[in-house]
């Protein structure tokens, strides 16, 4: 029977061609959407590398006050750290977790190897306590780095793997293009996906920058503080900290958000295009489904006498239903095979730059979806075909 189905479809190749093309294109679109969904899901499942819970972000605005900001900031950090309910305070660059700001560079070299685009962060000695980052090799910054001859840096595992392969990263010295600056790796953290929940685990590097370091800290620094508070802290502590900021800084403004709030806002921002893409995909699938349904319905009406003949020759009504489903299965398989050939080019050519398993998962997902879609679309018409009275359909011609 399978050979018969293939013969029938081959002999009707002209009329089946458009159907196959429609399935191929639908598969391809589903594949692309699946790649994006799978990659986002894959990223979502990766460790963030830090814990944003109970961390508050204070964006402090000195306004027109230009008098020794560094000294004020040092005092502010000390005062906040001394406040009951505060576990740790870190002063950091503007690319805080879930912010819309990022800094990246490709300046780093190790021997002759150039680093790919790397996310860059400023961090002081307390960031590890505030964000609970997991150090997997070496250590985080501390007072031992005060006397370092190279700039101390902490990198994430992704950077270490990309740059040093299987070699131990701690102690390695990085340079720039001109070899006039050097950075020494003092520690490796597990990961740092600070952009959003769907952000990929990109290479990341942390530069040590402490308020005491007058060489690296200017007077116009925008103070951004991350404060880890004890669990259960709420509005009372928040007001207390804001009051303390105003008191210490003599009138600087402070805007407070929890990292969880920032995460939620960023999630909404990231989900909007994904939902839009999903809706476009869904709309397309509905259109394809209606198209397939219509074509199959039309086919069955065109083939009523053939159905009657097959019943007369010994086909059962279920056999007729199975035949139509089988034909659709064969047409879908041919369309999907064409789609898979196209889809295979993505990992081979590295089109989106994702890992091969993401493409393979997306291919599997798109294949399942397209077979499910065609099965659903073919089900009702095939039942209609099965219900056709042979005596009536044979007389109709």
């Amino acid at each position: 029977m399978i050979r018969h189905l293939f013969t029938l479809i081959w002999n009707r190749k002209r009329s089946n061609f458009l159907l196959m093309a429609e399935i191929l294109l639908s598969f391809f679109v589903l594949f692309v959407v699946s790649v994006l969904l799978v990659s986002n899901y894959y990223n979502y499942r990766q460790p963030m590398g830090f814990s944003p819970d109970n961390v508050w972000e204070f964006d402090v605005d000195p306004g027109q006050d230009t008098t020794d900001r560094k000294a004020t900031l040092r005092l502010l950090v000390q005062e906040l750290q001394a406040t009951p309910g505060v576990a740790a305070v870190t002063w950091t660059s503007s690319n805080t977790p879930f912010s819309f700001s990022n800094m990246n560079t490709d300046q780093f070299r190790y021997k002759d190897k150039k680093a790919s685009l790397t996310e860059q962060y400023d961090a002081d000695d307390d960031m590890v306590r505030v964000l609970n980052q997991k150090v997997v090799a070496g250590r985080w910054f501390d007072h031992r780095d005060d006397a370092s001859t190279h700039h101390p840096v902490v990198i994430n595992q992704k950077f270490a793997e990309d740059m040093f392969g299987g070699e131990a990263a701690v102690g390695k010295v990085l340079t720039n293009d001109k070899h006039d600056e050097q950075w020494q790796v003092v520690g490796v953290i597990e990961a740092y996906r600070s952009g959003n929940d769907f952000a990929a685990n990109e290479p990341a590097i942390f530069n040590r920058r402490v308020l005491q370091d007058t060489a690296r800290v200017g007077n116009n620094e925008q103070p951004i503080l991350l404060v880890r508070v004890l669990p259960g802290s709420g509005a009372v502590l928040e007001q207390q900290l804001v009051r303390k900021i105003k008191q210490v800084t003599k009138g600087w403004d402070a805007n407070v958000n929890t990292l969880e709030e920032n995460r939620h806002d960023k999630m909404k921002f990231m989900l909007t295009p994904l939902i839009a893409l999903g809706l476009v995909g869904l709309f397309l699938i509905i259109n394809v489904a209606l198209g397939l349904f219509g074509v199959l319905w039309y086919n069955i009406n065109q083939r009523k006498s053939e159905i009657g003949l097959r019943r007369a020759l010994g086909a059962t009504s279920n056999g007729i239903s199975r035949q139509f489903l089988g034909e659709m299965f064969v047409v879908t398989t041919l369309g999907v095979v064409g789609g898979l050939v196209l889809a295979m080019q993505f990992p081979l050519l590295g089109v989106f730059g994702f890992a091969t398993p993401i493409y393979l998962t997306a291919m599997l997902l798109a294949t399942i979806l397209i077979f499910l879609l065609t099965a659903i679309c073919a089900f009702q018409p095939s039942r209609i075909a099965a219900a056709i009275q042979p005596a009536v359909s044979l007389r109709e011609e």
Binding site: G308, L309, G314, A391
Partner: protein, 247 residues
């Protein structure tokens, strides 16, 4: 045409010239009624039809259009159910049979030949002839091919196996349809106006083929026809009028 079944000259139908018929009933219809009902109209297509057809008999059914001939053939062929009455095939009533059992009987026992041939245009002649064997379990691909070739050989179309129906004349198409019926080696052939779409020469050719099948293979044939001359070549002529058997 060289391998075609030996052509049989038309012989006058007489009671003492029963050709291959036996007295063993193969089809029995008792009080068959078929009523088509819509919301407003009730149409009686068959009215208490009683008919026995013996094994090896060649019966023709005649009557004006709309008198119920084709309905009768559909009921005998298990393609349609009567509103009331009993149908027996080989002495067994078939009303209570499931869809699967009826399909099995159609496939094993009955071959159909239609006025408009009902060939599948997208299949080659050989594939068309193989079709009934496709629904028969235990018949492999090789055997299907061999039986299809043999059937086409019988109707003189062994040189046209790879042609498509659109490449054949009307007479050739009907011979393919007969080969398709033969491939399943049925005991009964039901032919619904098999020469209706053919000119007289082609019609004669097909009629001779059916007669040969009846005489040489002993196949029971029930043929609906409008052609009085051809009907008289068969062993028995049954006339219908307004759903009732009149002779």
């Amino acid at each position: 045409m060289e391998n075609m079944l030996t052509q049989t000259a038309a012989r006058p139908l007489t009671n003492d010239n029963p050709l291959t018929a036996t007295n063993q009933p193969v089809i029995q219809l008792r009080d068959i009624e078929k009523v088509y009902q819509t919301k407003t109209i009730e149409t009686v297509a068959l009215n208490r039809v009683n008919l026995t057809i013996n094994k090896g008999e060649f019966v023709s059914i005649m009557g004006p259009s709309g008198c119920g001939k084709s309905t009768l053939l559909s009921i005998i062929g298990l393609l349609d159910e009567p509103t009331s009455g009993v149908i027996e095939l080989d002495g067994r009533p078939v009303q209570s049979y499931s869809d699967k059992e009826l399909a099995y009987l159609r496939n094993q026992k009955i071959g159909f030949v239609f006025q408009s041939y009902h060939l599948i245009n997208d299949l080659s002649v050989l594939d068309n002839v193989e079709l009934p064997l496709l629904y028969r379990s235990g018949v492999g691909g090789k055997e299907r091919r061999e039986r299809a070739y043999a059937a086409l050989d019988k109707v003189g179309l062994s040189a046209r196996t790879n042609h498509f129906p659109s490449q054949l004349s009307g007479g050739q198409r009907q011979r393919v349809a007969i080969a398709r019926a033969l491939a399943g080696r049925p005991e009964i052939i039901l032919a619904d106006e098999p020469t209706g779409n053919l000119d007289s020469v082609m019609g004669e050719e097909i009629m001779d083929l059916l007669l040969s099948l009846n005489q040489q293979e002993g196949t029971t044939i029930v043929m609906v026809t409008h052609d009085e001359q051809q009907a008289h070549k068969t062993q028995r002529l049954i006339r219908f009028f307004d759903g009732s058997q009149v002779s």
